[in-house]
């Protein structure tokens, strides 16, 4: 059953997110056909499995996933698929943040991602180890194309490095600045560009913050002079707006994934547009 796929000119890959789809495309180029199983414009927590996804999984020789607890629906979707495609869990490729969870529930601490924060693709430097794993996996499935994959990756990394240098330069004036984020999406991004996430408004997506927590954040933002709240399409817009008004801060809307926003058309423009917007918002 796998054999025709191996000899065929194109390799079918299913990525769980658009970000990973783009990184697989960057390595696989024209030899690989990649589909993203999810649409970043829809709520990832309320995902219902669609026939389209089952078709993509059935055709795929390889499933590329974010891992940790980012795709709770994937085992359910894969349950009926035979033969099971190979899985590539990219969380193993990077150093994770936010892995500390109180082992015993000693205090009430919000921790959505119990195994570590899953938004590691938002550090562009992580694309290097991630694409290395992708190259390995693709080469194992199509050994004849090994050289093509390696060459594609080198070309992609050259563009990435040029971009990273530009983005770091753009955000350099704001090193050490503090922002408040709507959701806990940006720790990797903030660390890469020398920003500090001082607090998160909605610690558990979907559970509104209490009045006391909002008051505390507003008071702290005023005292510390935090001027920017980083929001995202899935965040509660009215609440973010109101807190920003009370704290005298600006709201900047960033895209957490490729395609979450009309400007973030691929992995590189995702950062291009996010960095440009953030720099504009942070500028006095």
């Amino acid at each position: 059953m796998l054999l025709p796929l191996l000899v065929a000119a194109t390799l079918s890959v299913a990525a769980t997110t658009t970000d990973l789809r783009d990184l697989v495309t960057a390595v696989g180029g024209e030899r690989v056909r990649v589909t993203s199983l999810t649409d970043p414009r829809h709520d990832p927590h309320a995902l219902e499995i669609l026939p389209r996804q089952l078709v993509a999984l059935r055709e795929a020789a390889l499933v590329v996933r974010v891992g940790l607890d980012h795709e709770p629906w994937l085992p359910r979707a894969l349950a009926g698929i035979t033969p099971r495609p190979r899985e590539l869990d990219l969380s193993r490729a990077v150093v994770l943040l936010g892995t500390e969870t109180p082992r015993l529930r000693a205090e009430r601490a919000a921790h959505v991602h119990a195994f570590g924060n899953t938004h590691y693709w938002l550090d562009p430097a992580n694309a290097r180890p991630i694409t290395a794993r992708i190259e390995e996996a693709l080469s194992a499935l199509a050994p004849a194309e090994r050289a093509v994959f390696a060459e594609n990756r080198v070309r992609f990394l050259a563009r990435l490095d040029a971009g990273l240098a530009r983005w770091e330069l753009l955000l350099k004036p704001f090193t050490g600045m503090r922002v408040v984020t709507a959701h806990d999406t940006w720790p990797y991004f903030a660390r890469r560009f020398g920003l500090t996430v001082a607090a998160t408004l909605e610690e558990r997506p979907g559970v509104p913050p209490s009045a006391a927590y909002v008051a505390q954040i507003v008071a702290r933002m005023r005292a510390a002079g935090v001027r920017v709240i980083v929001s995202e399409p899935a965040a509660p817009a009215a609440l973010v707006r109101r807190i920003a008004d009370q704290a005298g801060a600006r709201v900047v809307m960033l895209a957490p994934s490729v395609g979450a926003d009309s400007e973030a058309t691929d992995y590189l423009t995702l950062f291009e547009s996010n960095v440009t917007r953030l720099a504009a918002a942070l500028a006095p």
């Binding site: 209490s210 006391a212 507003v218 005292a223 609440l239 109101r242």
Partner: protein, 436 residues
């Protein structure tokens, strides 16, 4: 504290506006027995909004609201057309209106899911536009909503005769037309309320004050006054609780509604019992006595059979009267318990202090060297574990106590409760056979 006022002023105002109109509409809804009609309307409006987006109108544009309004009107027509007259003879194939409301809700929800799946913008923004968070309301929004509700309130006041008669089972000419007026105004109110406060809160504001009013008073006027009182009181209490105990505000208000209703129900039951006892003497209390003794017996049996289970009543009793637990511990264990409790209190205070320090450092209002910050992080993690360890010690000691309470407390309670329940039940049946 002034910041609390600043944060909570608009949400409280919004809640009071909601309480004002919903307590009144709730009387109608309760009298008509269409409890879930507001959920159906919220879903119909969502479908209208999604349809507007699908036709290429912007989110929040006048066209989108017009779509929502037209869909609401269509829903009102449907509900007016399917309403069955209270006095009408029951047909064998009679279908209750709640069934139609449920079907409309489910189908509208399914269609919305399908439309959202096709939309370029995705579902998040629409959901946010439709399901609000009361903490996020703006001043303009509250003012606009209050104006709309005041207008609708005036319409209802002007037309109170036919509308009230219709809901409370009177004969009205052109009933379907009046039904439409009621459902349409109701739909408009619910749709804008849900946008401010979310489905859960709107449902509570609609039904609970009306039920509380029905429990307390028999007249429309009395019920309305009670409903308003309950709505205002719960708004203030719920939002204060959200602030004091760090709870999500909408959920806190809804839970307060539930608690208040429970208090009213218990008070009514107690008043009824007292009245009965005054009339028939202590015999009237036999029924409740049997129930209470039965509960005691069940609690005793549970403690004797599963001493390791969660005996909430016993834990609560021990919190009020510590000797209930400490009497079952050896002196050494008692000492350990006191030490662990003191350590927990100290540790929790320490963790709270360090959390504040950590937040200060995060916000940059206090400076720490990187090395100190790392030590702070590690210390916090360690402290948390130590507190957890002390909690484990307390839990273990409680388990020891339970093993001993099992026979000394559980068996007597089981036997005593059973005997008391049987004796009371016998007295009750004997009294019943004598009295007629």
């Amino acid at each position: 504290m002034s910041l609390a006022v600043e944060i909570l002023a608009l949400p409280l105002l919004a809640c009071l506006v909601l309480a004002g109109i919903h307590a009144y509409l709730g009387l109608h809804v309760l009298a008509r027995g269409v409890i879930f009609v507001d959920l159906a309307f919220a879903q119909i409006a969502a479908l209208g909004m999604a349809a507007a987006l699908l036709s290429g109108h912007a989110l929040g544009s006048a066209a989108a609201y017009a779509y929502a309004l037209v869909f609401t009107a269509a829903g009102a027509l449907l509900f007016a057309a399917t309403r069955t007259r209270p006095g009408a003879p029951a047909h064998p194939s009679h279908i209750p209106q709640e069934a139609i409301i449920g079907i409309v809700y489910a189908v509208a929800a399914a269609l919305t899911v399908m439309v959202l799946d096709r939309l370029p913008q995705g579902g998040d923004q629409i959901r946010q536009l439709l399901v609000g968070d009361v903490l996020a309301v703006g001043g303009g929004e509250v003012a606009r909503t209050a104006a709309v509700y005041a207008a609708i309130g005036l319409v209802h006041w002007a037309l109170r005769r036919p509308l009230l008669a219709l809901s409370f089972g009177g004969e009205v000419p052109a009933a379907r037309a009046w039904d439409f007026v009621f459902y349409f105004t109701f739909g408009v109110v619910v749709t804008s309320s849900v946008r401010i406060a979310g489905v859960l809160l709107v449902f509570a504001y609609l039904i609970v004050p009306a039920v509380a009013g029905a429990l307390v008073s028999g007249t429309v006027r009395g019920r309305l006054a009670t409903g308003w009182g309950v709505g205002f009181l719960v708004s203030v209490l719920g939002l204060s609780a959200s602030y004091a105990w760090d709870l999500p505000p909408g959920a806190a208000v809804v839970a307060t509604f539930g608690a208040l209703l429970a208090v009213i129900a218990v008070a009514r039951a107690v008043a009824g019992l007292v009245r009965a006892a005054r009339q028939d003497g202590p015999r009237a209390l036999a029924g409740i006595g049997v129930a209470l003794a039965g509960l005691v017996a069940i609690a005793g049996v549970f403690l004797a059979v599963v001493p390791r289970g969660d005996h909430v009543w016993l834990t609560g009793l021990e919190a009020v009267a510590p000797p209930v637990m400490t009497a079952f511990l050896t002196p050494r264990e008692r000492e350990t318990l006191a030490d662990a409790r003191a350590a927990i209190a100290r540790g929790a205070a320490e963790v709270a202090r360090l959390r504040t320090l950590e937040a200060d450092v995060q916000f940059g209002t206090r400076q720490l060297e990187p090395e100190q910050r790392e030590r702070l992080r590690q210390f916090l993690a360690g402290r948390g574990e130590i507190v957890a360890g002390d909690r484990l010690v307390v839990a273990t000691l409680r388990r020891h106590a339970r093993e001993r309470q099992r026979f000394v407390l559980g068996v007597p309670l089981a036997v005593g409760g059973t005997v008391a329940a049987l004796a009371l039940a016998r007295r009750r049946t004997r009294a019943a056979s004598v009295s007629p």
